[in-house]
Amino acid sequence: MKALRTEDMTLNMGPHHPSTHGVLRFILTSDGEVVHSCRPDVGYLHRSIEKIGEIMTYIGFMPYTDRVDYVCAMNANWGYALAVEKLAKIEVPRRAEFLRAIVGELNRISSHLVALGTMAMDLGAITPFPWALRERERVNDLFEEICGARLTHNYVWIGGVAFDAPDGWLEKVRRFIDSFEKMIPEFNRLITGNKIFHERLVGVGVIDRKTALAYGISGPNLRASGVDWDIRRDIPYGIYPELAFDIPIGGDALGCIDDGYARFVIRVREMEESLKIVRQCLDRFPHEEKEHRTRIRKVKPPVGSVYVASEAPRGELGFFIVSNGTEKAERMRIRTGSFTAMSVVEKIAPGLMVADLVALIASLDVVAPEIDR
């Protein structure tokens, strides 16, 4: 009997696909449900932010960094501010450092909440998503109170922060972390310990240590692969050296390593660590110091270049700036965690099922604007 001729199906996943988190596109070839190859096609959200960085002044570029990753704008602001401050040798008041750490960690929590909620939603569990967003709203309320914006904050400025904390804001933060601490076990009961959720994520989308390092994966995804690396501890910035916190590593979290479940659990545990950091910042907050910003008219760094990396929720967020001695940068380059995470999909995807591919993309927590910039 003559064998039936079969051929692979080319599937176009995105840019409008619901689980591609913004506008990503994957070109899949699949045999029914089994993916044979998967080519990420990035660039649908390219807004030339790096080029804009070269035509704006250093100060004027700050609001654009919000848009690099609007899920964690505070961390993006902070990363840029760190780079410019190092380049132009600007001192930051201690009070500002504390405020930066507080908002940075709060934003890490809200960003991880989005990541966890969407990850669960991509696996078909809808309820964790509104639960996560409910908590995120409270973080947004706090941000709105301190800087007037809920999404693109433009709060961390070069030389400090834009506004001092209003009266009673720190108490509100403390109230939030006290109640959020109880929310995490609740969230875990809802989804983290769910049997079907285990089935869907354990052993799915395994990125081993070698591959993770080779592809330059960073942040929680790298730590889920068992690499003990966190820029907050290893290349410290801000007031992180003064704070005590743990770095959750894959393998110690419920014994899972490398897979989607490890990436999920790592993020849950990082939220707990962020709470610890915020609590310490609140306890040690320098109330006696009043200055929250070094007043600067103009940022005109000397000729030279700098690369400063910071630990954003999606991994290493690095700004490489070449200065030519004027108010505008000669060259601006942004290194983001999502971009490298996206690149590994092509390697991991073959052999997965379509549903697993969705789980893999979700567990890498990629955010489209951060990939394309």
Partner: protein
């Protein structure tokens, strides 16, 4: 209605005054169908509203609360919107199949209502092969879904249709086998007969008749969840994987038909489980006449709606299984176990005759098991509520 059908079947030779018979028969049929649609459609709509409100409550949202009191007429507004929308048919779609598919799905589910009893006397047709009829007519649904998936000329729709076909055909087997065990115990295929074989007290329900039927209840429920494309088995329309599955290309009223069928299915599933295992409309003999009928309707609807609630609850709690895991669950666990059920029920009926003292003791023991299981569940819920910071969730569900 049943006599009518019987007469129709008997008078196949068209003897006598067949023209008048035929007109009379068609008139009655039309009347029955119209009544069914008028009753069932709003009911389905209200189930959809209930699902959305319950889901909203579980997710700390408000949900639809604008149309009518508490938003109870939301389904009517949605229906009106869908009628007014453009009915879009993709250029490359197979027009005939594409347009026919929603009606097939719709007919499959609404046909099932024909044998679903609402009380002892309130049933459109008490067919001798009622259980068989339900299984058969609901099998039209996967046909419609595959047709829609194929005719849409969209790869995601096709994947959804194929998933649905594989899923529903697989899960028919454990569902049918579990129902077969019930039929064994009842000695009849008629849904009314199955209910009559049970009693009003839980110990008389088939759920607690013997250990095999007790476990069979869960197989049947899970298999029916899968047949109804409900989470954790909602793979055919997995919105995060397949966009919207087989209904991706549909719009307007055709899309509404799919949704209507989905929610009608919710009630069909709950009712069939109710009939087979939970004693249906059986009430204690405390009334007669119209009061009895009303009481039976209330009891039947209440049991079914509790099951509907459980299905909704499951949907908004659990993630979705993967295709292979779903198939594995069916073929490796549910099918062998439900075979075992049929055998076990038969053997049990041989050893412990119906109505014997041993049978009663076993029933009551199983009732105790059921009660303690729900008690344990209640304790767990109480502990979780205590751990959770409930006061913080300030949202008022009835706002």
């Amino acid at each position: 209605m049943q006599q009518l059908l019987d007469r129709f079947i008997e008078s196949r030779g068209w003897t006598g005054d067949w023209a008048i018979e035929l007109v009379y028969f068609l008139g009655m049929l039309f009347f029955a169908v119209a009544l069914l649609l008028v009753v069932v459609t709003p009911f389905t709509g209200i189930v959809s509203w209930a699902e959305r409100r319950i889901a909203a409550r579980m997710q700390s949202r408000v949900g639809p609360n604008r149309v009518g009191p508490q938003g109870i007429l939301q389904w009517a507004a949605d229906g009106l919107k869908c009628i007014l929308k453009e009915d879009l048919i993709p250029e490359d779609a197979d027009r005939i199949l594409f347009t026919a598919a929603p009606y097939l799905v719709f007919c499959g589910l609404f046909g099932a209502f024909a044998v679903l009893p609402f009380s002892e006397h309130l049933v459109i047709a008490d067919l001798d092969a009622g259980a068989f009829y339900v299984m058969a007519i609901t099998s039209l649904v996967p046909l419609g879904i595959i047709m829609s998936g194929w005719a849409s000329n969209n790869k995601w729709s096709l994947l959804g249709g194929m998933r649905s076909a594989a899923q529903i055909i697989s899960y028919e087997i454990p569902a049918a086998l579990s129902l077969l065990a019930v039929v064994l115990a009842a000695g009849t295929l008629s849904l009314q007969g199955i209910i009559r074989a049970q009693g009003w007290s839980p110990a008389d329900w088939f759920l607690f008749r013997n250990p095999f039927l007790f476990t069979g209840f869960f197989y049947f429920f899970v298999a029916n969840l899968a047949e109804g494309n409900r989470t954790p088995f909602d793979l055919p329309e997995a919105e995060s994987e397949l966009v919207a599955g087989y209904s991706t290309e549909y719009s307007g009223m055709r899309f509404a038909f799919f949704m209507l069928a989905e929610w009608a299915n919710l009630y069909v599933v709950a009712s069939v489980v109710n009939v087979a295992f939970l004693g249906g409309w059986n009430v204690p003999p405390i009334a007669e006449g119209v009061v009895l009928t009303i009481l039976q309707m209330v009891v039947f609807a209440a049991k079914s709606l509790v099951l509907v609630f459980v299905i909704i609850w499951v949907r908004w709690t659990l993630p979705r299984l993967r295709v292979d895991q779903m198939m594995l669950l069916c073929w490796k666990y549910l099918v062998p176990l439900s075979f075992l059920n049929v055998l076990g029920t038969a053997v049990w009926m041989m050893i412990v005759p119906e109505g014997s003292a041993a049978g009663r003791v076993a029933s009551w023991l199983l009732v105790l098991v059921g009660l303690s299981l729900s008690g344990l569940f209640g304790l767990r819920v109480r502990k979780n509520l205590k751990d959770a910071d409930v006061g913080r969730l300030y949202l008022n569900p009835f706002s």
